[in-house]
Symmetry: C2
Subunit: 347 residues, 2 copies
């Protein structure tokens, strides 16, 4: 089984966008507020909306996508905390419906109703609803709810602790994923996403978060931002700060996806990041949609790059494509086992 751990619902029906427009228009003119949260989206419309993803799964040879709302759509910084809450609930509900309709193709990851300046513990009720009531297997956690001004505290700050406690209790990982940028310095997919990944990893080096939360698991997307390319820098900085080796300090809790859109990047990643920490992902229908003229294939067809890695043996391949995902997302593993797909035993 090939599990793509990073997909966003970027093909939402227009009705969702129309709701969002009304919701935000309502900030300026309460007369324009949406009168209902019933979007009128039928199951058939949902099924049809994810046909592009299903087609790519078939064509590229993946089976299951871990699926969450559009990352740039989370926009926690827009409006008020109440707006974020309503928008989050609605966005997560659509993910839930799709994953219920197509359980062999999609597993649900939710967004959290974060808002700049608001305590992360306010997200706990939605987190509990997602996991306990709707069967979600993880969440996206935005390390910068301000959308590019970084005005909230780092991930190691104690304000996050109640949320981390709940993540541990529920045994779900968080993907550390920023949303859109309202800072003109940062293009969202070209700078803000990658900076967010790099920043989160460095915060974790500086802190000692996993001493307090030994079972907390974070996935850093987009190949970990700049981290593998500067692996020597990060090993050296940790050393200067008298931190343990990164393998001991972070790598039992921090994982990287393979959303790196050329072979040399994936090749580097496989050289420096232990195979137990690499999870296959493409963010398909995401950041970069075109065909690479140098290869004739889609940039985000990342499975091709991994297939090219001659140094990987079969057990390593299994880990990257399935085993690690089942370990990092234990609730996915349980769902798959229940549906008759047990994990392979690996070392």
């Amino acid at each position: 089984m090939i599990i793509d751990i990073h997909g966003h619902y970027t093909t939402e029906p227009q009705a969702l966008h129309q709701f969002r427009d009304k919701q935000l228009a309502g900030l300026a003119d309460p007369m324009r507020r949406p009168t209902s949260t019933d979007l009128g989206i039928t199951d058939d419309m949902l099924r049809q909306s994810v046909e592009p993803q299903l087609k790519l799964q078939r064509e590229r040879g993946s089976d299951l996508t871990i699926f969450s709302p559009r990352a740039a759509g989370m926009a926690h910084h827009v409006g008020t905390e109440a707006v974020s809450m309503q928008w989050t609930t609605l966005s997560n509900d659509l993910i839930h419906r799709i994953c219920t309709l197509l359980p062999d193709n999609f597993a649900a990851v939710g967004q959290l109703p974060q808002h700049p300046g608001s305590p992360p513990k306010n997200c706990i009720p939605e987190l509990e609803r997602l996991v306990n009531e709707l069967g979600f297997i993880g969440v996206n956690l935005n390390p910068d709810p301000s959308g590019g001004y970084w005005t909230d505290p780092p991930l190691t700050d104690r304000q996050w602790y109640p949320l981390y406690e709940k993540l541990c209790e529920l045994d779900v990982p968080a993907m550390i994923h920023v949303t859109s940028s309202c800072n003109p310095n940062f293009h969202h997919t070209g700078a803000h996403y990658i900076n967010g990944d790099t920043t989160a990893f460095m915060q974790l080096i500086q802190g000692d978060l996993f001493k307090d939360f030994p079972t907390l698991k974070f996935v850093i997307p987009h190949g970990g931002g700049a981290v593998p390319f500067h692996w020597g820098r990060y090993r050296g900085l940790a050393q200067e700060m008298k931190r343990p080796l990164l393998a001991d300090h972070l790598l039992k809790n921090v994982f990287f996806d393979t959303c790196v859109y050329h072979y040399p990047g994936i090749e580097l990643m496989a050289k420096v990041i232990p195979v137990d920490n690499i999870l296959f992902a493409s963010e398909m229908l995401g950041a970069v949609k075109g065909i690479d003229p140098e290869t004739g294939h889609y940039y985000d067809d990342t499975k091709r790059y991994i297939d090219q890695l001659e140094t990987l043996d079969a057990p390593s391949r299994y880990k990257i494509f399935e085993g690690n995902a089942r370990r990092v997302y234990p609730r996915l593993d349980a769902q798959l086992t229940k549906r008759g797909h047990p994990a392979k035993p690996v070392n």
Copy 2:
């Protein structure tokens, strides 16, 4: 000749730090302002202060270091624009004295008296002084004078244009280098520096700056941040934005240094970045000072990584170690030629 294009004066005499303390204390209590800008630093003290750099040049086999004030010391966000101006002048004057005392070992690059919210054109008088009066061959340009809040406009904004016009007129390149971070989210060398590099490159993809300034040259340090690791992403984003190929859009004007502190990173860089755009650098006595237990050598002894690149032929090696630096820093080339070291002819 081996030219290291990225060194900072991180071994300054205590007198400089004492001045800075008094200068900043004076913001709170004018009684504590320094009474003189004469630091009492003799030529012998300067010579002695750079002994560590000279020792490493000898040991590691480089000849000349392009030398600028401590990057984290620029701290443009601290105090007022007048404070930045005074501090900049003083810091640059020390660099000038060192490069005058040891012209075979150091070539001078300056800091600019930037300040958040102040127009970059205010830096022109100091830029002219540095180049026309003191023989500086380049400057460091901070893309985020706020020190981690990114509240000023992107590098492609027209507010920067008067400064770019002057850089072109004087024929000096700018290294795009942030300074310290006053944002607790960003460790300076572990996140802010790398994010600054990545952000600058993406801004340049979005804009069309080099159409307006075909002779402007930027050096992006630390291997270009995350850029080479995500080269497919950047090629793909440029393509989606209907920008020309990066080779045409940016690579006549944008160069990367080799401050990447492990071999796999340099190996990746050499695979994806054209050899004409790679300039040898170590940022020695800089960000990462320790010995890599995996190799037994200093992380920042980057010459070793380049020496290991078996795919590089002799002309390419010459470009990385000397030729490209002489092309990107034409005033350095002129100085070296005048001192009896002409450049080798290369294609």
